[in-house]
C-alpha cells in the first residue's frame, strides 16, 4: 500500500502540497513522545500523533517515516509545514482520534490477517 491509497481510505486532508505520495507503507506507529518514536518507529511507518511541533519533521526524516497523520483536528504552524515540504515528509490532518485512525490503518494493511 502506498501513502496515496491511505489518503483516500482515511479521507485525510493533505497539509503539504507538492510532495509525491507514492512511498510504500510498511507499517504504522502511534506515539506522542518524540524520543519514543526515535527509538522505536521503523522506516516506512506511517506515524500517527497529536504533536505538531517542528521537531516531528526532523524525527520523521531521521527515521524514514513515510508520512505523519496529525489527529484530533490539530494543525501544525507554518514553520512545521515549510520544514515538511523541504524534507519531503507528507503531513496529513484528520478530525478523528488516534484510535480510529490506527484501527483503519491496521485494517487496510492487514485485512487478511484480521479475517483469518
Amino acid at each position: 500500500m502506498r501513502v496515496n491509497d491511505l489518503r483516500d481510505i482515511l479521507s485525510l486532508q493533505v497539509l503539504t502540497e507538492g510532495i509525491p505520495l507514492d512511498t510504500e507503507i510498511s507499517g504504522g506507529y502511534v506515539s506522542d513522545l518524540l524520543s519514543d518514536v526515535m527509538a522505536n518507529a521503523k522506516e516506512g511507518d506511517i506515524w500517527i500523533t497529536l504533536q505538531t511541533h517542528l521537531n516531528i519533521v526532523a524525527v520523521a526524516a531521521m527515521k524514514g517515516i513515510a508520512g505523519i497523520i496529525i489527529v484530533n483536528g490539530r494543525r501544525p504552524d507554518e514553520e512545521t509545514l515549510k520544514k515538511a515540504s523541504e524534507e519531503g515528509i507528507p503531513l496529513f490532518s484528520t478530525r478523528e482520534t488516534a484510535f480510529v485512525v490506527a484501527g483503519k490503518l491496521y485494517k487496510a494493511l492487514y485485512a487478511q490477517e484480521i479475517q483469518s
Binding site: 513522545l33 518524540l34 524520543s35 526515535m38 511541533h53 517542528l54 521537531n55 526532523a58
Partner: protein, 245 residues
C-alpha cells in the same frame, strides 16, 4: 567581592496537587534555612498564588518568584521572574491558555495559604494540565516579562523537553537546563553532551519537605538577587554557575 550562594530553584508548595499539604511557604523556608540554602524559588504547576505568602515571611533566604509551566507538548519549563508583578502577568497568560477543568475533589489539594500556614482558599481549576502554549512561545513570553526560562528535569523520562520533543531544537532559547537529583555529574556529561551551549543547574523538584535541598546549585555572585543569578547564567562579569553532580 563575589561569594558562593546555594540555590534550589524548583520547589512546589501545597498549591501543586502533587505536593504534600505540609509544603506551606513558612515550612519550606524553615527547611531551606536548615539546609543552609541562600536562595530558593517557589515553582508551582501553572500557578503562583502562594508566592505572596512566601514573600511576606522574614528570613535570611531570598525568594525568587517562579512557576513551572506545562507547554502544549507536555514539557515542563521553569520560569524565574524578577518580581511578583511580572510573575502574575505570566500567570494570567497561563490561566487563559489552560482548559478550565473544575475538579472539586482535587481542589482541596490545591491550597492557597497565608504566611501563618492558614488556609486562604483553593484553586478549583486543575493545575497539572497542559497549556496551549508551545515550548518556544513559553520561553518567549518568560523573556518578554524579564524572566529566566529553564528546561525542567531534562534527565527524566516524563514531562521533559527531551522526552517530549526528542531533542532540543537549535534555536530554543533556554537560559539553563535543569538536571534532577537522579542523575550524577558523569551521567549528565553523557546524556547532555550535545547541549553544552546551555548552563546546567541542579534543583530538587521538591514535593515534600524532606526533598528540599536534596540537590542544589552554587552560584558565584555578588549578592543573592535575581539580577546576579541572571549574570551568572550568562557568564558575565565573573559570575559563575558552579554545578555539583
Amino acid at each position: 567581592m563575589l561569594k558562593k550562594y546555594k540555590a534550589d530553584f524548583h520547589i512546589h508548595t501545597c498549591l501543586s496537587p502533587c505536593a504534600e499539604l505540609d509544603m506551606t511557604p513558612r515550612r519550606i523556608i524553615g527547611r531551606a534555612m536548615e539546609r543552609s540554602l541562600d536562595i530558593i524559588a517557589i515553582t508551582d504547576h501553572n500557578a503562583a498564588e502562594n508566592v505572596f505568602a512566601a514573600n511576606r515571611i522574614e528570613s535570611s533566604v531570598t525568594i525568587i518568584p517562579g512557576m513551572e509551566i506545562t507547554t502544549s507538548e507536555e514539557a515542563h519549563v521553569i520560569a524565574l521572574m524578577p518580581d511578583i508583578d511580572s510573575l502574575m502577568e505570566l500567570r494570567s497568560i497561563v490561566k487563559e491558555s489552560m482548559p478550565a477543568i473544575i475538579t472539586e475533589k482535587l481542589a482541596f489539594e490545591q491550597v492557597i495559604v497565608n504566611e501563618n500556614d492558614e488556609v486562604e482558599g483553593f484553586i478549583k481549576e486543575l493545575l497539572i494540565n497542559a497549556t496551549s502554549l508551545e515550548a518556544e512561545r513559553v520561553v518567549k513570553i518568560i523573556h518578554q516579562y524579564g524572566g529566566i526560562a529553564i528546561a525542567a528535569h531534562v534527565d527524566r523520562d516524563v514531562y521533559s523537553i527531551l522526552t517530549q520533543l526528542g531533542f532540543i531544537p537549535d534555536d530554543m532559547d533556554f537560559d539553563a537546563l535543569e538536571i534532577s537529583f537522579r542523575t550524577s555529574h558523569d551521567e549528565a556529561e553523557t546524556i547532555l553532551q550535545p547541549y553544552r551551549r546551555y548552563p546546567w543547574i541542579k534543583s530538587s523538584d521538591a514535593h515534600h519537605l524532606v526533598d528540599i535541598g536534596r540537590c542544589y546549585t552554587e552560584f558565584l555572585i555578588k549578592e543573592p538577587t535575581f539580577e546576579e543569578i541572571m549574570l551568572a547564567l550568562q557568564g558575565k562579569e565573573g559570575r559563575e554557575v558552579i554545578w555539583h553532580g
